[in-house]
Subunit: 208 residues, 2 copies
């Protein structure tokens, strides 16, 4: 199971950053950000407690790398969904990602990591979204309304993801429907005003 990355009996590890991130990802999903300690990581990686500081200036920077992975994954999933399933599919994919990786999603948007302070993270996060919602609006730069609508669409799926994640949506509201079905139904209650949605959806479909 554990692909022992540690070179036998060697002082140097080989690829500590990746090993740390793998272990961190596991702990993150299992126990959440707050339970993720650097020292536990070093124990699992079989190195000394100060070793991570050769690769990450502090704990938050390691969390930033973890969040960056998440943004890359989500961005990729969104691009695929855009090509295959259009706007509605993108929304369902977004919510699906959040529910499949709840702790990762929380880390990405929870404010624990000050995104602005971590350049690589900032860039991948921007690329994943403003590179999507933004590119979407860039096709009709004259229409501020289209850009606003794309933000509204993003807010809708993001908010639904978060509410479901935190268990704020009463079980009764589900009315026995499957998770995917429920998400689809809720999103289906929304229309966009004034042509903005059609144009946005079209832009997305072309962007593949």
């Amino acid at each position: 199971m554990s692909t022992s990355r540690r070179r036998k009996h060697s002082y140097h590890h080989g690829d500590l950053p990746a090993t740390l991130l793998r272990a961190a990802g596991k702990i993150l999903e299992e126990e959440g950000v707050d339970a993720l300690s650097l020292r536990e990581l070093t124990r699992r990686a079989g190195v000394s407690h100060a070793a991570p500081y050769r690769h990450f200036p502090d704990r938050e920077s390691l969390l930033a790398a973890l969040a960056a992975e998440g943004f890359a994954l989500l961005g990729e999933a969104q691009r695929e969904a855009a090509a295959a399933a259009g706007l509605r599919g993108m929304g369902e994919t977004y919510v699906g990602f959040a529910l499949a990786h709840p702790q990762r999603f929380r880390l990405m948007f929870g404010g624990t990591v000050r995104i602005a302070r971590h350049k690589a993270l900032r860039e991948v996060a921007t690329r994943a979204f403003d590179g999507l919602a933004g590119a979407l609006a860039a096709r009709s730069p004259e229409a501020q309304g289209a850009r606003d609508a794309s933000i509204a669409a993003w807010a809708l799926v993001h908010g639904l993801a978060q509410l479901l994640l935190e268990g704020r949506v009463a079980q009764a509201a589900r009315a026995g429907r499957s998770e995917a079905r429920f998400v689809s139904d809720v999103l289906a209650t929304i229309r966009f005003a004034a042509g903005a949605p059609a144009r946005a959806a079209a832009a997305v479909d072309q962007s593949a």
Copy 2:
């Protein structure tokens, strides 16, 4: 400035829980949840470091009380907005609350506090929302669509609040508009499908 709650030269404090929560609220807004330590609270309250344990079983429980305050405030603001400004006004109020109390909002929805484990919190949170979005749908229980639409509306404003809070909306998208104006414009791009919205809005207007 500081309404010295400490009775002069007295062993007992008088109202430590409230004093702790006041200090905690201040630190929370200024520095965020992660920077809020029990020991710093005790220093500010002028009591010993273990005193809080007479009133809160652990740190998370104190955070839960803090979150409960937030839900009560938000719920109250929503009720007022519902009476005065209808559905759109409720949305703007929701986002306004989040932007006015960003750290409090994060605490309420950030997952640091496991809401289900804190009875009082769970109840006030449920009352503030399921007691709103829920009551809204209860008026037309035959229409599952109306309930779905109310969840979508909640998700929309919640997501917009969170995205703005975390700075995920590019400055360029604001296009120079004021915050309130921007929020209003974004929300205005949304329509509800098939009669669900009208009924929902009507129910809200009556619920005052």
